[in-house]
């Protein structure tokens, strides 16, 4: 029983990340009609926002202390981050809280990236076939990840959670669960609710939802959807970016994490039902949990390697028996 609970908990944070990425994918696809293969790279960029902020805060000042010498006889170098020498303990605190701080930084940065991407590239592909959209965003994804590789190197860069939530909590006697994963779960739920509330309760959101149902009609009403879609793209970018920022203490980011998550998130979208926001979210969590179950030793000893392919298998089964996905609208992709 405990084992099951633990696996469910373990799956939730990964599921949260899938859900957040898939949400943006399906939102952009449903409104702009664009398949964005660079959406995983955006998640990765978000993660590297956190890495950058952390590195910036940790920039060190080197002072030579002539009174002490190293084993080599040279004066001892004392390294202190600038921020600590300026702000003292507050500086240390800032470094420790670099991940949450990165969020404040990542929102405008990701929004900017999203807007630039949409205005500078995506908008020219609205009228081109999906194949072209896939190809151009695929190229962009490669470029983004290679740039990150040039700057940050190929190795994963671990980030730590703030000390307040760095430890683990014992839920039952056998279940020890890191605080940060709980934080991530609540964070993703909050973000998801935020997006849903935004779409449900604002006029803007209403237009967007109407656009997802029937773009042409909304266009005929004289509403400038193009501009709204730019904002939608920006929102999707921010959501994926923040998902990346917060994920860094769970998975040390590296340059190719984007593609790994993108493929799985696409599968999540297909399983949930293309164009269904609720489907994307529930399928995200569902597949996250499934994956975590599949990686249990008990399961793996019976079906070796099942954790590697479980998500794909589920997708295949779903496509065969229920092509429109779990929550897709009837008639969509059924012919």
């Amino acid at each position: 029983m405990d084992a099951i609970l633990l696996q469910i908990l373990n799956g939730l944070d990964k599921g949260g990340a899938y859900a957040l990425i898939a949400l943006g994918l399906t939102l952009v696809f449903g409104t702009l009609g664009v398949v964005n293969f660079a959406h995983g790279a955006i998640f990765m960029l978000g993660a590297f926002c956190a890495v950058s902020i952390n590195a910036l805060l940790k920039l060190e000042q080197v002072v030579l202390d002539p009174t002490q010498t190293t084993a080599w006889g040279t004066p001892l170098e004392i390294r202190t981050p600038y921020i600590e020498s300026w702000l003292g303990e507050w500086g240390t605190l800032l470094i420790q809280y670099s991940v949450p701080i990165s969020i404040l930084f990542a929102i405008p940065v990701m929004l900017l990236i999203g807007l630039v991407m949409e205005r500078g590239l995506i908008q020219f592909f609205y009228k081109r076939p999906h194949a072209d959209q896939i190809l151009v965003t695929f190229g962009l994804a490669i470029i983004l990840q290679e740039i990150i590789k040039e700057i940050f190197g190929a190795n994963p860069i671990p980030q730590s959670a703030p000390p307040l939530v760095a430890g683990s909590v014992s839920i039952t006697e056998t279940i020890v669960y890191p605080y940060w994963r709980i934080v991530y779960l609540f964070f993703s739920l909050t973000l998801i609710s935020g997006v849903f509330a935004f779409l449900r309760f604002t006029t803007f959101g209403m237009v967007v939802r109407a656009g997802m149902q029937d773009r042409e009609t909304v266009g005929l009403l004289g509403i400038n959807i193009e501009r709204r879609f730019t904002i939608v793209f920006g929102v999707a970018t921010v959501v994926a970016g923040l998902a990346g920022v917060m994920y860094t203490p769970i998975l040390p980011p590296d340059y190719h994490m984007g593609m790994d998550f993108l493929v799985l998130s696409f599968v999540v979208v297909v399983v949930g039902g293309m164009g269904s926001l609720g489907g994307a979210v529930s399928a995200g969590f569902l597949l996250g949990i499934l994956q975590s179950f599949a990686s249990m030793n008990e399961v793996n000893s019976i079906l070796p390697g099942i954790d590697q392919i479980i998500i794909y298998l589920v997708a295949v089964v779903i496509l065969l028996v229920r092509p429109r996905g779990l929550m897709g609208r009837k008639g969509v992709m059924e012919d």
């Binding site: 009228k127 081109r128 076939p129 072209d132 190809l135 695929f138 470029i143």
Partner: protein
């Protein structure tokens, strides 16, 4: 009436064969005349020709073709290990196995069209890649990669009385060692055969049917065609081409690793095809050659080479230029690939073949505005490219089509 006759095609094939066989001489001036590189041209040419049979003719964009390449390589190396160092059984087994693999993946993926198909193929390729690294390690030898050992059984070779285990085995074609120039000529001849078969497919009623599916799959149904088996055949043929290419990789260098199945490798063959011109006969081969040539050059560059290259510049400027150029060469080749990708899609959707055609017959060659519906003819053909811009309004994808 059709612009392209049998004679045209035979001439095209003869010219193609002549260029391939004379490749070592023709490519001498650009410094590409050595067997290792020319083998790569030929092998990736085959890979791209096969990819083009699927994408160029049907418009179905597969993002998982590297999986078939990988399967072909593994199958070939196993054939070297278990049967014989002869290339023929290795190739035969690789082609058959990758065909079966394509059948399995195609059965599921082809239930969907458009982006769903792309996503599914990408997912399957990732899954294969993951499996090759994990559970299938007994077959793939995981990260180390699968290689030929002196101690392998090689039952066929033993049966024919070869002295197995005496020396480090090398691949051969009935005694001719598949390294150096013989290796290239072997690959070159297979390439010519592969090209000939693609001409046959392009010109056959089957090929025309595939084009019709690309043009209007809906209509095909009301015209009495069941598109699924057509697409399935194209997918399997295309997968077998990839398996063939994979087996040749193993023939020229008998080892196979999972990185061959990675999504970047799938992306590379897409780029080769669209760079040359999807839907054209020669384009994919041209694209493969160009990509592999520049990969070779760019990967070899390093800072000192760049410095000597930009020697004519003043010190400070040179420093900056070298720094920037350094991003794109050496390990940065993938960045160049990504940039090239975007440039082709944005500025040259018809690929180089279409570009060349526009230069050659300036008046009658309208611009191709997207890849999804790229030109279907060749420079040797009628040059029929769509005259009008594709002005269809964006159709909302998450909605059933309005009926009318």
């Amino acid at each position: 009436m059709f612009g392209i006759s049998k004679i045209n095609d035979i001439m095209l094939l003869v010219a193609f064969a002549a260029i391939i066989l004379a490749g070592p001489i023709i490519l001498e001036p650009i410094g590409a005349s050595y067997p290792d590189l020319l083998q790569k041209f030929a092998i990736f040419g085959i890979f791209a020709i096969g990819f083009n049979i699927l994408f160029g003719l049907t418009g179905y964009l597969s993002f998982g073709h590297a999986a078939f390449l990988g399967v072909g390589s593994y199958a070939a190396v196993w054939s070297f290990k278990l049967l014989s160092m002869n290339a023929i059984p290795a190739i035969a087994i690789a082609v058959v196995l990758s065909g079966l693999f394509a059948l399995a993946i195609g059965y599921v993926s082809l239930r969907r069209a458009g982006i769903y198909f792309s996503i599914l193929t990408l997912a399957f390729a990732q899954m294969s890649y993951n499996l090759a690294y994990s559970v299938l390690t007994p077959i793939t030898n995981g990260e180390t990669g699968l290689r030929v050992l002196r101690t392998d059984p090689r039952y066929l070779d033993v049966m024919f009385g070869a002295d197995v285990g005496a020396a480090q085995p090398t691949t051969n074609f009935f005694g001719i060692e598949m390294t150096g120039w013989p290796g290239f000529y072997f690959c070159g001849i297979v390439l010519i055969a592969a090209f000939a078969f693609s001409i046959v497919i392009f010109r056959s009623p089957f090929g025309m049917t595939l084009r019709a599916i690309k043009s209007n799959q809906n209509r095909m149904g009301y015209t009495g065609f069941n598109s699924r088996p057509y697409l399935m055949s194209a997918f399997i043929i295309s997968g077998m081409y990839a398996g063939l290419a994979g087996s040749l990789l193993a023939v020229t260098d008998p080892l196979a690793g999972a990185e061959r199945m990675q999504w970047t490798a799938s992306g590379e063959v897409v780029l080769m095809t669209i760079l040359g011109g999807a839907g054209t006969l020669l384009g994919p081969v041209l694209g493969a050659g160009i990509i592999k040539y520049f990969e070779n050059i760019f990967s070899a560059f390093n800072e000192s080479v760049l410095n000597s290259l930009f020697e004519f510049m003043p010190e400070d400027v040179r420093h900056v230029v070298v720094e920037v150029a350094g991003l794109f060469v050496g390990d940065g080749w993938h960045l160049t690939l990504g940039v090239l990708f975007m440039i082709v899609v944005i500025f040259l959707p018809g690929g180089l073949m279409e570009g060349a055609m526009r230069v050659l017959r300036i008046k009658h060659s309208p611009k191709v505005t997207n890849i999804g519906k790229s030109p279907q003819r060749d420079i040797v053909g009628e040059g029929a490219i769509e005259e009008n811009l594709d002005d269809r309004v964006r159709t909302a994808p998450a909605r059933s089509k309005p009926t009318g």
